[in-house]
Every structure is written in C-alpha cells, then in structure tokens.
C-alpha cells in the first residue's frame, strides 16, 4: 500500500532574531554575623527555591570518618529539639514544601521548594533543622545500616560497581576521591551520632554559609526574612577552614582493572584519570573539549561507538569538576563480545582528539553550550542551584554572566591545548566489569598495560524456581 506522496519543504528555515538573554541579576547582602544572602527575583515563578549552603563537604571529612558527611545529611531531618522526625516531615508536607538535605564533595546544604506565600514558615523549618538537630541515636543507627546494605547493593549492580572500581583505580590511597561519597564499610560501620555531629560542627560557621532564594519575590524581603531567622547564628566552637583536597593519581601509566562477573551480558567500561579542578583558567576550553569528546550526541565517542558500530546504547565522557581535580572519564556499556574492540575504539578516540578538532566540531560544541544556557535556567531551582555552586566553588559573582562570551571565545588552539594538558590516554585506568573470562585472552593480547582481575564467587546457575499458580 502506498498513499499519496508527502509534499514537504526542502529548504531549511533560518533562525529568527534571538531574544536577548542575560543570567538573571541577583542581589547580594550579608547579615551582621557574616551569613551571605543572595536573592534572585524571577517574575512569574510562584514556586520559590531556597537553599542554605555551607562551603566544604565530603572532601573535607577526616579519613577515619569517611561517609559521615552524607550520613549527617540523611540524619539531619530525623528530628530537632522542637520536632521529632515525623512531626518535621508532616510540618513540611502541610506547607507543600519538600525539604532536602544534601552533602556534596564541596558543600552541604538544605534546600526547599515552596509556594511563595509559605516561604517564611518553610525557612523557619530550615533554621530549626540546621541549628538544632538532635540526631537520635536509634535513627542514626538505622541510616548507617541502610548505607551498609546499600554498599552490598552497589557491589551487585554492574554500573555502581564500575564507578566504585574506577575511582579506586584512578586515585591514590591518600585521596578522598578514591571512595564513594557515602563511604565504605570499614568506616561507615563505626559511624555514630558523635561522628556526624562533629562533621556538622566543622562546617557550621555563618561566615561560610549562604542563603540563596529565587522565584517571584514580589512583596518578599529576603534579607529581612534571613536576618530574623539566621541572624543570631554563631560559629560552632569546632568550625574550621576547609582543608585542601588531595587528588593524587594512583599511577601514571596505563593499566587495567577487570572485575569478573560470570554470565554478565554486558561489560561496563570506564576509562580515565584525575581531571581538573573547577577553578582553572582554561575552564571554558575544558568544557568545550569535554563536549566534543563525549558530551554531545554526535560527540567523537557516541558517533563512533553507537551510531557507527552499534556497540552501545550510549558512550559519554567528561570532566567532573570539583574544588580539586575530580575524575575525567569515558563511560559506556557494551555487549560482552565487543568489549575489547570497544575499549580500543575509546582509547583511539581519546588519542585522536590530540590531532585537533575541526572548525565544525568546535562551532557545534560552542553553539550548544551557549544556546542551551538559558534552557538550563528555566526554573528557580536551577538558578538557585547554579548560584549556590558558584559560591561553594569560590567563583566570582560575574562568572555566570560572562559564561557565554567566554565559551564563544574558545578557539581550535584552546581545545588542542586543553586536550594535551588534560586528556592523557597513556596514564589512564581502564575498568572492565563483566564476564572477564569471555574476553580475557583478547584483553591480554591487546597489550593495554598490567591487568589486575577481581573475581566474584560464581553464582548458582540462574535457574528460575517458579510456582505461578500456588496458593
């Protein structure tokens, strides 16, 4: 069957006149106790996003308390001097407010999304939670046990297993980036209320804290709301400056860590090394480079491994930018039988980027980053998140305003320099989580460097014991 033919317009439309866009202006002030306040008026956005962030996060916790910062964030809403955990959650729900505590590598924060007319009582809750948490022992134990169980789950999940193996392969023992941010069994098992109190106390200093509020602020005086609630806060006796983060690489030669999961139908591949810190002079060139290598759909990696070879559902790569050098990594999952060809293709693309990129690639990546910028900031939550991160990274206030011109100024030479400095295939760890026995001879023959193999105990044959009709 074939009906009448379609008539379509062959000629591509050209763009209209772009509407001018600038990152929304914000007002910054400071309370007498040093707490910073940022207010961003976003007309027509009645759902307000508010975030109270403290500089310094997981990377700052002592090694013997690894996991304490994330556990602290999870336990923060388990009760305060005034409310128990259930009363607290109910109080938030009655306001239609969702309150989230979060611990990142470089900050801890408490965020709330709430309709404008209920902002004041929502900030009361934020104040209560951060200033007077009780961390009930029994709830801390429960959350600690949940994390220990989650560690078991992560081990069984090929993706999480690959991520954890990757950071362990990339960073030296001395670096906190070597572990998942929620910590591992050895330290999590002994965390208690005293430990999590101590990590909060380290960071509790109004001079290192910022309240960011965004949305339609018509009739709302943010500095006044902040002063009434947070103006009386004083630094805790244990507050201290954020320590420098060790991001030493585990090695400077290429090597393979293969995790044998018998019967896996796919191999999770991670390839990389420590990348760069967020606050670097060539940040914009690094962003464009990462976008060309593994950020766009038509990036070097995805074009080759998905659209040409069909090896994967998606291949990505990029820089995880933190206060210190977070990882640069390529990530993909491939059918077991193409594990080695796919690994070689990734390495070849990471090498080929050093031969330079074309003007077309540069333009596509720059145009993407510049064009998508306003789309990223459609909602108050996104604007507030970007400003909170700017503060905790120690970046200047005009960083977001000058982002687009700075990206537009990146040249082919800048990309070449960024690639040469920050993408070094000869120093990369290659992590393969899959049915290693199925590709081991091929892996050995590929000569990728020393190979370390972790073997899990073989599972029982996956027989299916089913009794569909039992009663």
């Amino acid at each position: 069957m074939s009906g009448p033919r379609s008539t379509v317009v062959a000629e591509r439309p050209s763009p209209g006149e772009p509407r001018p866009y600038a990152f929304p202006p914000f007002e910054r002030s400071r309370l007498d106790n040093g707490l910073s306040v940022i207010a961003i008026h976003l007309p027509g956005r009645p759902l307000i996003a508010a975030s109270l962030v403290a500089t310094g996060g997981v990377a700052d916790e002592p090694d013997d308390l690894a996991g304490a910062t994330v556990l602290m964030a999870r336990a923060l809403t388990e009760g305060t001097e005034r409310y128990d955990a259930i009363e607290l959650v109910e109080a938030g729900e009655r306001l239609g407010a969702s309150i989230h505590a979060e611990a990142g590598w470089d900050s801890i924060g408490l965020s709330v999304d709430v309709p404008a007319e209920r902002l004041a009582p929502a900030l009361d809750l934020v104040e209560e939670i951060l200033a007077r948490p009780t961390f009930p022992e029994t709830e801390v134990e429960r959350l600690r046990d949940e994390r220990l169980n989650d560690i078991l789950q992560a081990r069984a999940d090929p993706r999480r297993r690959a991520e954890e193996t990757f950071v362990r392969a990339v960073y030296a023992d001395s670096s906190p980036y070597r572990r998942p941010s929620a910590g591992l069994e050895a330290t999590v098992g002994r965390l208690d209320r005293a430990a999590i109190r101590s990590v909060l106390a380290r960071r509790f200093d109004p001079r290192e804290m910022t309240l960011v509020v965004g949305g339609d602020l018509t009739g709302i005086d943010v500095p006044e709301l902040a002063a009434a609630r947070f103006g009386g806060w004083q630094p805790s006796a244990a507050a201290r400056a954020v320590s420098a983060t060790d991001a030493t690489p585990a090695a400077r030669h290429r090597r393979v860590v293969a995790v044998h999961r018998p019967g896996s139908v796919q191999t999770e591949i991670r390839i990389g090394h420590p990348g760069v810190a967020r606050r670097i002079p060539d940040f914009h060139a690094v962003s464009v480079t990462g976008t060309i290598v593994g950020g766009l759909f038509n990036s070097r990696l995805n074009r080759k491994l998905r659209e040409e070879k069909g090896y994967t559902y998606g291949a990505h790569a990029g820089f995880d930018l933190r206060r210190a050098a977070g990882p640069f990594g390529a990530r993909l999952a491939v059918a077991t039988d193409v594990t080695i060809p796919a690994t070689l293709d990734v390495l070849a693309e990471l090498e080929a980027i050093h031969a330079g990129v074309t003007d077309a690639e540069l333009t596509e990546a720059r145009d993407y980053l510049v064009g998508v910028f306003p789309l990223r900031f459609e909602t108050p939550g996104a604007v507030v998140g970007a400003l909170a991160s700017l503060v905790t990274m120690g970046l200047p206030d005009d960083e977001l305003a000058r982002y687009r011109p700075a990206i537009e100024a990146v040249t082919v030479d800048d990309v070449a320099a960024a690639a040469a400095a920050h993408i070094r295939p000869a120093e990369m760890a290659i992590v393969l989580v899959g049915d290693v026995d199925a590709f081991l001879p091929e892996l050995e023959a590929a000569g990728l460097g020393p190979i370390e193999i972790e073997r899990d105990p073989a599972p029982e044959p996956p027989t299916e014991a089913t009794d569909g009709d039992a009663d």
Binding site: V8, R19, R118, E364, Y368, D467, D471
Partner: protein, 435 residues
C-alpha cells in the same frame, strides 16, 4: 496558592494534525512535542519491541536530513530533544531557544512526511544493535531487572497487547525487517494520528502558519484509527499469582502488582493519592512502619500507572533488610494495604497529600517541556487537552472515602501478583519452601 491556568488554542489542519499552542513569554524558550497514538500495544505478534525500535529509526534521517543530523542540528542550536515509547503511545520532543522554533517544526515535519526516503538496511541494523544494548543495559544486566517484564506478563494474559514490554524481545528485534518499518510508518505515522503541541515564547498565528507550511503537505491516512479490538479484561486478576525469581542480588525484594481501573477513571485519581499516603515519603504509612519502626525493609514504594487499552497497573515493592523474615515483610506490607481499605485516611493525611500533590503539579508545570507533553498526552488519550488545568482540581476534590473505596476495589488477595526476588545463592532451598 493557585496553579496558573494554561491558556491554549486547539485546532486541526485539514490533514487532521491536531495543533495545540500555549504562549508563555517568561523565558526565551519554546517546546515542541508530538504524540503519535501508537505504542507497543499496536505491535503485531512476533514483533515485540518494534514500536520502540522504530522510534530509534526516526532519528536516522529523512528526505532532507541525514543520519543523526536531527539531533546534531538541535544540539547545535542549544536545544535538547528525545523520543520515548510507552505501551499506549510514542512521543518526540524538542526544547529550543525560541528564535529557533521554526527549525524544530521543519525537522519534525520532514520525518513525519519522508522518513522512508532515507531508510536503509544499514541504519536499521545499526539501531537494532543499539536497542539490543539498551535492553541489556536497562533490563538484562541490572539487579531485579526483569521485574517489569514479569509484572506485565503476570497481570495481562498472553496475547493481550499489554502482556509484553516496550523493549520487547531479542528474537523479535532480530526479526524486524525494512518492510516492517515501512508498513508501521505508513499505518501509524500520519498527521491524523498525531498531536503537535507548541508551548513557550511563541506567537500563536505564526505557529499556525508554520505548521501549515511544514506539515500541511503530508497526507492523512484514511484508514485510521487502527482498531485493536476489545482488550478490556476483568477488573480483577481472579486469583493470587505468585512467582519466585532467583537473581544476582544481595537482598531479597518483594514486588506487588494489581490490576487497577482504566486511565481516566476517577478511582485511579483516588489510587494516586493513596500511593502518596501509603508510600510517598518518610511520613507515609508503609515507610513509617516497614522502614522506620519495624525495620524490615531498606526501601518501599507504591504507585499506579494509567493505561487506556485495558486495566491500569498498581505496583510497589519493598527491599528486605538482610536476615529479615520475608513472610513477615510481606504480611506487614499487606496489612497496611488492607488497613486503608477499612479505615479512610485521616483529615490530616489527606490535607498533606493534597498539599504535596499541588506543589508537585506546580513544580512540574513550571517547565514548558512538561506543559507541552501534558497537552499532547491529554489530547491523545482523552481528546481533552484542558485536563492540563482540570487534573489538579480533580485530585484536590478526592475524598477520604473515595480513597478507601478505590483501595478496596484494587488491593485484594484475588487481584495480586507477588513476585519475590531471592539471592541466587540462597534461592534453591527457599524457592522450594515457598512453593
């Protein structure tokens, strides 16, 4: 708080394409969203997974767009895009800087009109491999990854269009041919089987003019709508079904599945609120009891998924803590489901569920992309795009008694599927014990 009313125009081109436009000039952003009324339930036998494979082919080029160029063009103008396939529908969407709206419309029209001009065996084979890797990644190589396949297979009888998942089977994906692509396209990808929604910093008359210019020359398929026949089922499963699965997982998990009222039935609204009260956050009944108080579970869920071609699905799970008695975990979860069928939720529980629902709705509808998707959805499934404004009032008017009654209709022993995942190394003995 008042969720703002969304004003929109709703009309059709002569070829049947439904065009919905809503202006919002807050941000210089425009969302384009097309729903085609075709999903995995329209797949012929032996071609399970085809609707989704076809969705991938839609990004492989058309008469004036080369392979992967659609995505390349959208990204190079700073846009985002994707396509998704579900049991009842397939959607395609772009969010772009508003001065680039015309390009997004042109791209959608080119593939709706001329996909087959660019179709090649090579591209089909490539995307078949990509989709097989998607299946491995999303289902086969994931702990508990088979639960959705097992749930659908257990709740819907063989031969029913909801018996299989959108990802389908490896064998059927292998069997898909160029001829299948052609006939699927000619049958379903016609303007009179689609809804085009455009939301954001746009001008309605201009959008209408562009829609006519780009889509106006694509002929309707006079043989639509496709009649799948009557696939209604009895509202209840009729008896309990149980299955025990040995998997490579460290912690056992119990999944529950139920047949639920068809999408659009007000009882499903009540069931959504029940999901909030029972498992929405740590103040909810199941979370309090299983995770906090009795510490039997690591996590707990309960939710519903609306379907229009037969019963909907209510489902949930609880992951056991190490060493807990699974029979106890199952019994306590069930006790909480039974409790709500006898005692309606308290006024305070209902107030909190309403406040959260309202805030969620306000949060989701902030984004033009979500608004466009909802307009397309309500127009496609219910011929009623104004539901985008009326769903929230519907939720807010649900009473405690309606929640109790809806739960009573659904959470019944003769309507439940219980799927127990056990760690493979402990499964052999336990599975027999459970039999």
């Amino acid at each position: 708080m008042r969720v703002p009313t969304i004003e929109f125009s709703d009309d059709r081109l002569p070829n049947g394409l439904r065009l919905i436009v809503a202006e919002d000039h807050l941000a210089p952003v425009a969302a384009v969203n097309i729903w085609y009324a075709v999903g995995s339930r329209h797949e012929p036998p032996g071609r399970h997974g085809f609707a989704h494979l076809f969705e991938h082919v839609m990004f492989q080029g058309s008469a004036h767009v080369s392979k992967a160029e659609h995505i390349g063009l959208i990204q190079s103008i700073g846009g985002t895009m994707n396509g998704t396939t579900w049991l009842d529908r397939t959607n395609y969407f772009e969010t772009v800087p508003s001065h680039q709206l015309e390009l997004a419309l042109w791209l959608e029209a080119d593939r709706m009109g001329t996909l087959l001009d660019a179709l090649s065996q090579e591209n089909l084979d490539n995307q078949r491999d990509v989709v097989k890797n998607e299946k491995r990644w999303s289902y086969d190589n994931r702990p508990y990854g088979s639960w959705w396949e097992r749930l659908l297979a257990g709740l819907f009888p063989p031969g029913h269009p909801y018996h299989h998942t959108t990802i389908g089977s490896m064998a059927d994906l292998d069997a898909a041919s160029l001829d299948d692509v052609k006939s699927f396209f000619r049958t379903h990808y016609a303007p009179n089987n689609a809804v085009l929604s455009v939301v954001g910093d746009v001008d309605r008359p201009q959008v209408r003019a562009w829609a006519e210019r780009y889509f106006g020359g694509i002929p309707a398929n006079p043989a639509l709508p496709v009649d799948l026949g009557d696939h209604s089922l009895p509202p209840l499963l009729g008896r309990e079904r149980r299955e025990v699965v040995a998997d490579r997982v460290p912690l056992p998990r119990i999944h529950w599945g139920f047949r639920a009222p068809v999408y659009g039935d007000p009882r499903l609204d009540a069931l959504d609120l029940a999901g909030q009260i029972l498992a929405g956050g740590k103040g909810s009944r199941l979370h309090r009891r299983l995770v906090r108080e009795e510490r039997l579970a690591q996590d707990v869920t309960l939710f519903s998924m609306g379907l229009i071609g037969g019963p909907s699905i209510a489902a949930g799970w609880a992951t056991a803590r190490p060493g807990v008695d699974l029979a106890r975990l199952e019994a306590v979860y069930w006790e909480e489901l039974e409790r709500i069928t006898s005692e309606p939720p308290s006024a305070d529980e209902l107030d909190r569920a309403r406040a959260l629902t309202e805030a969620d709705e306000l949060g989701s509808l902030q984004r033009v992309e979500e608004r466009a998707d909802r307009l397309s959805m309500y127009a496609t499934l219910f011929d009623d795009p104004d539901l985008v404004n009326r769903m929230l009032p519907r939720y807010l008017s649900v009473t405690a008694e309606q929640i109790r009654d809806a739960c009573r209709d659904v959470f019944r022993a003769d309507n439940r599927l219980v799927l127990t995942y056990l760690p493979a190394d402990q499964a052999s003995g336990d599975a027999e014990a459970a039999a």
